[in-house]
C-alpha cells in the first residue's frame, strides 16, 4: 500500500427489494441495510458471509447495477451520480461468479473482451482495438489465436480469465470480484487467485473480494468485513480478524471452516451454530444474529448493536463485548 488514499467510500448503503407477498401487498426485503465501508487505493477488502446475507447485493449496488434505496457511494472523492456515472462505469468493473453464464455464447472471446473498449470508445480504429484485445488476453494467459473462439470452447478456469480480461479492458482502478473462484476446481483456484494478485501489484487495482470461502478471502485480502443478514457485524485487518475475532458470529464462522490437516482437525473444537439463517423477510428484532447466538440477552432483542471500535481498525457490532 504505497498510497493511503481512499478510493471507494460507501456510506449507509441500503438496498431494499419489494416482494409481492399477497394480493396488492408488498413487503420490503432488506437485502443490504445500512452498510458503510471504505477501500483504499491498491487495497483488497474481503466480504464474507453465508448465502443470502447480502454480500453480492453490496457489490452490485456499489457498482450501481441496482439503484441504491438509500446511501451514497463516493468514488475518488466524487459522489457517484448521473453526471459521473459514465466515468465511474469505466473506472469500476466487475468479475462475476459464474464463468458459464456471464459470457455471451454468441460472441467470440475477442468481441467479449472488446465490448468495454467499444462502449467507452477507448481505441481508435480496428487495428488498435485488436492489438489491445491481444494484449489483454495475453495478460490473463490466453493465447491471442484463441480470440476467434467462442466461450463454450474454454474450460471454467479459462472462462474466468476471459471475464477478468473483460473487466480489465477499460483500464479500471477498482474491481468487484463476486465469488470469482468458487465455481472452479481447487487446482485452478490457485491459478486465478495468483493472477488477481499479480494484476493488483502491476496495475495498482483495488478489489472488493466477495466470497464464502474464508481461507481464500483471508489469503487475498488486507481487510475483511463479515456480513450477516444485510449488516456488517465485524470488520478488521485480515490477520487480526482471524486471530482475535470478537463477534460470536465471526467466531463460529471461523471455527466452522474445515482445516485440511487431520491432526489439527481432531484437536480443534468446532462451535456448531444451531439452526438456520432466518429469512430476511422476517428479520428478528434487535440484533439479527440473536436467534442463533449463545450469548444473546434481553438487550439483544430490544435494539440493534452499532459497530464500535474494539481495537484500532477493528470494529464489531455486539452488545456483549
Amino acid at each position: 500500500m504505497s498510497e493511503n488514499k481512499t478510493l471507494v467510500e460507501v456510506k449507509n448503503l441500503k438496498q431494499y427489494f419489494p416482494i409481492t407477498t399477497g394480493f396488492m401487498k408488498t413487503t420490503m426485503l432488506k437485502a443490504v441495510d445500512d452498510v458503510s465501508f471504505s477501500i483504499k487505493k491498491g487495497e483488497t477488502l474481503g466480504l464474507v458471509g453465508e448465502s443470502g446475507c447480502g454480500k453480492t447485493t453490496v457489490g452490485r449496488t456499489l457498482l450501481h447495477l441496482y439503484k441504491p434505496t438509500a446511501g451514497e457511494v463516493i468514488f475518488d472523492g466524487k459522489p457517484v451520480c448521473r453526471e459521473t456515472m459514465k466515468e465511474y462505469r469505466r473506472r469500476a468493473q466487475m468479475v462475476f461468479q459464474d464463468p458459464y453464464s456471464s459470457l455471451n455464447p454468441r460472441l467470440t472471446v475477442g468481441d467479449i473482451v472488446a465490448e468495454p473498449i467499444d462502449v467507452h470508445k477507448l481505441c481508435k480504429g480496428r487495428k488498435e482495438r485488436d492489438e489491445r484485445v491481444r494484449e489483454l488476453l495475453s495478460t490473463v494467459g490466453i493465447s491471442s489465436e484463441q480470440a476467434t473462439r467462442y466461450a463454450h470452447e474454454f474450460s471454467g478456469g479459462q472462462r474466468q480469465r476471459i471475464g477478468i480480461a473483460r473487466a480489465l479492458a477499460s483500464n479500471p482502478e477498482f474491481i468487484v470480484c463476486d465469488e470469482p473462484v468458487s465455481a472452479l476446481d481447487v487446482s485452478i483456484q490457485a491459478q486465478v487467485v495468483n493472477m488477481l494478485e499479480d494484476l493488483q501489484n502491476k496495475l495498482g487495482l483495488s478489489y472488493l473480494f466477495i466470497a464464502h470461502d474464508l481461507s481464500v478471502v483471508k489469503h487475498i485480502s488486507n481487510r475483511i468485513a463479515v456480513m450477516y443478514l444485510g449488516h456488517i457485524v465485524e470488520m478488521a485487518d485480515a490477520n487480526e480478524l482471524h486471530r482475535h475475532p470478537v463477534h460470536p458470529y465471526t467466531i463460529s464462522l471461523l471455527s466452522a471452516v474445515p482445516i485440511p490437516d487431520p491432526n489439527r482437525a481432531r484437536e480443534s473444537q468446532r462451535i456448531v451454530l444451531e439452526g438456520d439463517v432466518p429469512s430476511p423477510m422476517r428479520m428478528p428484532s434487535g440484533c439479527s444474529f440473536r436467534t442463533r447466538c449463545s450469548r444473546a440477552t434481553a438487550k439483544c432483542a430490544e435494539c440493534r448493536p452499532e459497530l464500535r471500535e474494539v481495537a484500532p481498525g477493528h470494529v464489531a457490532a455486539c452488545h456483549n463485548l
Binding site: V193, L214, K218, P258, V272
Partner: protein, 356 residues
Amino acid sequence: MAMLEVRDLRTSFFTPSGEVKAVNGISFDLEEGKVLGIVGESGSGKSVTAYSILQILTHPGRIVGGSIKFRGEELVGCAPETIRKIRGNKISIIFQDPMTSLNPVYTIGNQLMEAIILHTGRNKEQARARAAEMLTLVGINEPEKRLTQYPYELSGGMRQRVMIAMALACEPDILIADEPTTALDVTIQAQILELMQDLQKKLGMAIIMITHDLGVIASMCDEVIVMYAGSVCERGTADAIFYRPKHEYTKGLLRSIPNIDNDEHERLIPISGTPIDLLNMPKGCAFAPRCERAMKVCLTQKAKEVRVGCDHLSACWMNVMEGQKQGKIITDENGEIKAIDLEGTLDRAWEGGEAR
C-alpha cells in the same frame, strides 16, 4: 475380508463423440465402520464410482469391467433383484444437492416411509413411527409435523438432514455421501458433518465420503483415495496422504490450498494447465501434461500402483525414481516392482512375508 471390495472397476459413457472412460480401473477396500474419503476435481470419476457401486448409472453410462463385492457377493452383472435388495437397504446414498434430490410432489413422510415399507416389511403405521424416529435422530424438531410437509417448506440444511434420515432409515452397512455439504453454507456444513460423525459413532456404519474439499476429508476420514481422470493416484490413511503425500498430483493439490493460519502472505503454488479432456486421454499418466516433474516414461506409460508405505499406495513414476536412487525397491521373482520403501517402514512389515 473387507466388507466392500472394488477391483479394477471400469465405467464408461458411450457418447456420440466417443467413449468417455469416467472410471478407468480403480480398486479399493472398505472395512466395517470406517470412513473412506474420495477426493478429486470435477470429472475425476468420484461420483461415477459411487453410482457404479449402487448401479444407478444413467444411459449412456455402463460398467464395462471389474468387480464390486459386497460381503463376498458379486454386484457387477448380478440380477436386478439382488441389487434392488441392497440399494437403499444395505448401501444407501446421500446426493449432493438436497434441493433437487427430494421429490417436490410428495410429502417428507411419504418419501421416508417408501424405503422403510419396501425393505423392512413394516406396515404403514410402524413405518410412520420409524420415519418420525429417524427425523428426531437427525435433529429435526416436531417430526410429526415435518412428515406432512413438502420439501419446499424446508431449508437446505433441513432437506439434507431429511436425505440423511432417509438413507439411514434401513440401518445400512455403508452410507455413500456424494458431496453432502457442497451446496450448503459453512455453518450448516459444520452442522451436517457433526451430525454424520455422531451417527457414525452411534450406528457404526461405514461411510464413503465423496468431496473435493480437502478440509472435509481431513476432519472426517480414516482413509483417503485421491482420484484424477478416472484413476486412483494415491490411497492410504488420512495421515499418510496429508503428511507424507507421494504422488505429484496429491502434493500439488495440498500445495495449492491457502493455509488460513498463515499470517505471512505466501504466494499460492497452483497446479498449472487445465483439467483433462476425458475424450482425449493421454497415453501415459493422465496427470503428466500438468505435472512439473513429468519424465519421458510418464508420457508413454501409465505408472502402476505400488505400495510406498504401510497402508499407503501410489501410482507415480517419481516414486520409482526415488526408490531406485535410494536402492529401496522391493521386487518379486519376476523382477516386477512389488513395493518401494520410501519411508523405511516396509522392511519390518515385509518380514512377515506380506505387508499388511
